[in-house]
Assembly symmetry: C2
Homo-oligomer: 531 residues x 2
């Protein structure tokens, strides 16, 4: 389907055409006309890839590509001056959550494809300092080129920007898989255009600028996660030392109800420190989808019998745990035995297996499958195949509620999510990331993107799932544009004290209300009068 750009361009809500024209001219002056896009390929690329093409609810009116921090400051100051709402992304990926598209129709998008430098790799302390557009692939390549002594943590797919993914609370699968927690210093352009640095980096001299968890006084790092309070222009992140030994282990269980002891055993291994990464417990649909489209496996709603038959064809379990071990050989061997002991005690007929290699041998030869490599910080594009499950023109939207990492909660939450997904005709496609005390019960929502009704059904399901699961005690940790308000509504304690607090900060820091209005359900005064 051809995408037609509106002419004249969309205008952001509350901005008069004349004022908008003046602002665009000012942006051109500030960063160069060639970096101000009102139409063309980039405008198409930076839409929500999985929305119905003609659905303009989240279209930007323009895209700006600054080339320096100073240009970002200039853009922010001009936006405030002219009252033009901005939206920010890194590379413009994050497709399962709405991609580069703005929450507020007609916002002017700042995209960081021109700012992709790796500013520092510290090989003594193990950290890297990045610009907001640097992709995971670029980081992986740079670390490899330097000899591979340090590993990053990455999501499955590596085309997105590290800062974009990290600031959206992206999840990877190493010891630093909780990406936001691995930050050791931010540089931020505030809505005023001023520059801030966080933690020890707020000192111009600090030798531990990227080594210590925080500075002196309140730690403001967290303010810039899933945030419209500032634009991150530099980030320092921890890296992991390449281990002497790397083990990717798997444990497959045969029955649906085995999830309960499996989650409890995984939590035990994490809390005692034997496992230090973010293990994943998944079903079989991801693997099935990598091999063939849905119609070759299933017809209609997936019954337990069909599921079991497919699981056996794939040689998988009903639930499949993957985890990894990193460290000196002797320690890793002892940890591997401990994992085997705890997991097989929990589910005696579960199937324990592993692949291992020296840390400098982790590659596609030793670990042919992506899940065994990504736990060593090696992303791939492979998973994109699975989006073709229902149609070669497929889409996905992730619903990701959070629960305590207990077997009882896994059973209860799993049942609730399955019900709501099947009610909307979707496949139950879980991929549970176990953080230790909590789990992100991520459910892939796969749909036929060639069918407008299927897309609308997905949005309906998404908001219903957020509200129904939220009421049961399972808010989401990260959200698609379409569910941000519903997701924020779940944080309702004391008449939404959290939202009211962040909005007070928002109004103080961004009185013009121009930076990413509506992000994560936080609206500036200018746009929330109707609520």
């Amino acid at each position: 389907m051809t995408i037609e750009l509106p002419k004249p361009a969309l205008l952001p809500e509350g901005v008069a055409p004349d004022a908008y024209e003046v602002a665009i001219d000012a942006f051109r002056e500030a960063i160069g006309s060639e970096h101000v896009h009102l139409d063309g390929e980039l405008m198409v690329e930076l839409r929500d890839a999985y929305a119905w093409p003609a659905d303009d609810r989240h279209w930007p009116s323009a895209v700006l590509q600054p080339g320096s921090v100073e240009e970002v400051q200039a853009i922010v100051r001009l936006a405030a001056e002219h009252g033009v709402p901005l939206w920010v992304n890194g590379q413009g990926k994050n497709l399962g959550y709405g991609g580069a598209a703005p929450r507020l129709r007609g916002s002017v998008t700042i995209n960081f494809q021109r700012m992709t430098r790796i500013l520092e790799v510290n090989e003594e302390l193990g950290y890297v300092v990045l610009e907001p557009g640097t992709t995971y692939y670029e980081l992986v390549d740079e670390l490899k080129a330097r000899g591979g002594a340090w590993w990053p943590s990455t999501p499955d797919i590596g085309w997105g920007s590290v800062i974009g993914n990290t600031s959206d609370y992206g999840v990877g699968y190493t010891e630093f898989g909780d990406h936001f927690a691995s930050i050791v210093g931010l540089e931020v352009v505030l809505p005023s255009g001023e520059l801030l640095r966080t933690g020890m980096w707020a000192s111009s001299t600090a030798t531990a600028a990227h080594a210590h968890p925080r500075g002196f006084g309140p730690d403001v790092t967290g303010l810039f996660g899933q945030s419209n309070l500032g634009i991150i222009t530099k980030m320092a992140k921890k890296l992991s030392p390449r281990p002497e030994r790397y083990v990717a282990l798997r444990f497959r269980v045969q029955r649906d109800e085995d999830i309960a002891p499996l989650v409890d055993a995984t939590r035990e291994l994490l809390l005692e420190g034997t496992l230090r990464n973010i293990p994943v417990i998944g079903g079989i649909l991801g693997t099935a989808a990598m091999r063939a489209p849905r119609h070759e496996w299933f017809e209609g709603r997936i019954t337990d019998e069909q599921y079991r038959a497919t699981m056996q064809k794939l040689g998988m379990g009903w639930w499949n745990l993957r985890a990894a071990l990193y460290g000196p050989t002797g320690v890793v061997e002892a940890q591997l035995e401990r994992c085997r002991e705890v997991l097989t005690a929990a589910v005696p007929d579960g199937e324990f297996s592993f692949l291992e290699a020296a840390g400098d041998e982790v590659d596609a030869e030793h670990f042919p499958l992506h899940p065994d490599r990504v736990q060593a910080g090696l992303p791939s594009q492979g998973l994109l195949e699975s989006i073709k499950w229902r149609n070669p023109d497929g889409g996905h939207l992730e619903f990701s509620p959070v629960a305590p990492a207990t077997g009882a909660e896994a059973l209860k939450l799993g049942g609730l999510v399955r019900d709501v997904m099947e009610e909307y005709g979707l496949d139950f496609w879980p991929s549970i990331c176990v953080f230790g005390r909590s789990m992100v019960y991520l459910c892939v929502g796969n749909f036929d993107h060639s069918d407008e009704a299927a897309i609308e059904n997905m949005y309906d399901y998404y908001e219903a799932a957020i509200r129904r699961l939220g009421a049961e005690g399972y808010p989401i940790y990260r959200g698609h544009l379409r569910g941000m308000d519903a997701a924020q509504d779940q944080f309702d304690w004391n008449d939404h004290a959290y939202r009211r607090f962040v909005e007070r900060l928002k109004d103080a820091l961004d009185p013009a209300g121009v930076l990413s209005p509506g992000k994560q359900g936080i609206w500036p005064a200018r746009y929330r009068s109707g609520r």
Copy 2:
């Protein structure tokens, strides 16, 4: 020396006597007259224990002891209404950093000795929810009474409140020794009197309220560390599972310059994950001071020869590392071997030793010395003995600069600190807490508290050390009242962008400027006009 209370009471700066009287009456009405103290023992207890007794620069004018969150809210609202500055402490300990005393003379202190409940211990997920006055000893006792399946992380001395210590970035010695990082949910009274809960706890229904690292949108937890932006009234913190095996290990090296390879080896063990706690590398003065006062060991400045002789008498190294291992027996044994291997490779003639026991046998019988127990979360009052080093009426003040955890930095920073300490006639008394990528190079400043000149000398040294070491790249992570402005001055990047940013938040959240003015060098508009 008898301490005389001023009559009439001190007034806080900028508050008229009449307005103050009205405010005190309102506080009495709100929390009961018996909990509003204008004189008496409590007023003496909640001074800076190590200031010169007649030095009133940090005296409070009154102490309030609320009994509930509602009473805290009432106090804050009344303070804003009447313009009366407040100051907040837990139990009123933290003596090495100024104790309960307020930064601003005459502030009204809120003390939490009446709010000491343990609200929840979750033995499935491993966390505890506390009130702001609960002490470490109370927490330790409660966990023991429940069977000891979960261990806390504690500082050396356990009489202080968990929330007070944690919110001041207190350090312990377990896997959760970075106490602030182990928070999983805060309840906060804002300067407006409103209540806020953070993270997943901001949802009234969230099952993972104290299990997941953060919620949806910006994480505001960090705003309440070393903060005057709110008063923490409840905190959830992670606990560690009692391990099957516990090992307290030590490594002693014979030469001053051995600190360099020792720090590098410790960092390597931490970054590879073999060590998971916060190890400490110390000299010998702490141990010497536990046995006898200074004059029995040294005369005048401590020379290298005297130091070596004393070190040999004590059977210690020039530098002494302690660390701990926790986990399943097989894993811990492999980790112990790895520690021995890495440490003895770094300093071949270093002396490696350890004590070990089952996790349920960690007590004074199996581990006679405090340093071996505190790494298992068992605090004691023993260290207080060491304060008598120069006089039975002794005092201490900690200078705690932060550096990258490298051998080269340890050599350089150690030399600089030693110079400044000896210049002021102080003993160089380091106790280095190794966080992994960084180290807190804590130096005990021990002085004769019966001598006013010695105390003033200590303050002079403290500010000089903060400024001199700050200029060299080593800001402090935590500070005594007397050094808070100097410490904040070190965070100077972009014309003190960090301080200006936090002050903007301060003015937005606390327009009356009443909550803890000057804490960590952050002043409300009302008091910073002179700067």
